[in-house]
């Protein structure tokens, strides 16, 4: 083996090792799908109620942050769910191109046969930058944008997806309001909604 061949072999091994390391940290659609199955419970809360709760929380407990009066849903915490970070342009609902892949991975998971027919809530959360009312609107637009992308181009059945924006009313790290962990998208399986007939028609499962 000539020296340059050895170099090449070493470089190739390194490149492969690096690729593997990078691949491991990326969102894996099987992992998402597995996190979204398991608990087969129905959520009695509707998307409309959650939206209203966020707006009411600002009204009932005004202030620069909701700390001390964060919304909690013990019932929802028990459901199968997965949390992702999707990047958006500042103050905008346009998903940044570097996050296209992760939205695709969510689509792959939702197309997984084990999740067919299950209702999925797409819940957007922000950090404490910006006013609370503004953040509810922004997170709603962002959750809507993710829902829309999942439907077109990624072909997820629109009937199983609902989008909700909770703003900063459910901070994950209240001690550090501006922390990145607060900016997140939560996917929650809210129970079987449909079965599908042979020609793809939806009906209530027997």
């Amino acid at each position: 083996m000539k020296i340059h061949q050895v170099y090449f072999a070493v470089a190739l091994t390194l490149a492969l090792a690096l690729t593997a390391a990078v691949a491991d940290t990326r969102l894996n659609s099987n992992q998402i799908a597995n996190s979204l199955v398991g608990v087969d419970a129905k959520l009695s809360l509707t998307a409309a109620q959650l939206r209203q709760d966020a707006i009411d929380n600002v009204k009932n407990y005004p202030g620069t942050t909701a700390i001390g009066h964060l919304l909690v849903y013990p019932q929802m915490d028990k459901l199968a769910q997965f949390t992702v970070e999707i990047n958006f342009d500042f103050g905008s609902a346009a998903i940044r191109p570097e996050s296209y892949r992760d939205v695709g991975a969510i689509a792959d998971a939702l197309h997984n046969p084990i999740l067919l027919g299950y209702g999925i809530l797409v819940i957007g959360h922000t950090d404490t930058v910006g006013s609370r009312a503004y953040n509810i609107g922004l997170s709603q637009r962002r959750a809507d944008a993710i829902r829309e992308a999942l439907i077109d181009p990624f072909g997820v059945n629109a009937a199983v997806l609902e989008a909700v924006g909770m703003g900063e009313e459910q901070l994950r790290d209240p001690q550090h309001g501006t922390a990145a962990v607060n900016r997140r998208v939560q996917l929650v399986n809210v129970g079987k909604r449909f079965c599908f007939g042979r020609s793809g028609e939806q009906f209530q499962c027997p």
């Binding site: 099987n30 998903i95 695709g104 689509a107 792959d108 084990i114 992308a149 077109d152 181009p153 793809g200």
Partner: protein, 145 residues
């Protein structure tokens, strides 16, 4: 020696073309390929355009004369693959209805149907159903439970 290399290269090429024809990309891979090939063009021509609702595709279509060749090519391939996979996933119950009745005894296009089709040798499935099943990606992307 040279001939062997040529035959090998030819086989590789046939393999690559064959794979491009028969397999659809996962949505994650499709999106990643679009991003990788079109990164610069997206920044230049479609900044702030939303991915969903056909808006990004519309932007790329609207700029097709100025896109980099690499983006131009990948864009067409990626959107075609996404459309094919989505259509197969949507219509598999319809396309495979006779096969489902004959082989699976289920009337629902659900996880049971996929498990059933996976358990059957491709030669025993009708060609249309088999092609559609391949396009869904469900043959190889196994849900782990």
């Amino acid at each position: 020696m040279k001939q062997t290399a040529f035959v090998f290269a030819l086989l590789l090429l046939i393999g690559a073309v064959g794979a491009a024809k028969t397999d659809t990309l996962s949505y994650a891979d499709a999106a990643q390929q679009l991003y990788t090939a079109c990164r610069g063009d997206l920044q230049k021509y479609c900044r702030g355009v939303e991915l969903g609702g056909g808006r990004l595709k519309g932007c790329l279509d609207g700029h097709q004369n100025v896109l980099s060749p690499q983006c131009q090519q990948t864009r067409a391939f990626v959107y075609a693959s996404i459309a094919r996979r989505a259509a197969a996933q949507r219509n598999i119950g319809d396309i495979c209805s006779a096969d489902i009745e004959r082989l699976c005894g289920t009337s629902h296009a659900d996880a049971n149907l996929v498990t059933c089709l996976r358990g059957i040798a491709p030669v025993a499935i009708s060609p249309q159903c088999n092609d559609a099943f391949t396009d869904t990606g469900w043959r190889t992307e196994r849900p782990q439970q």
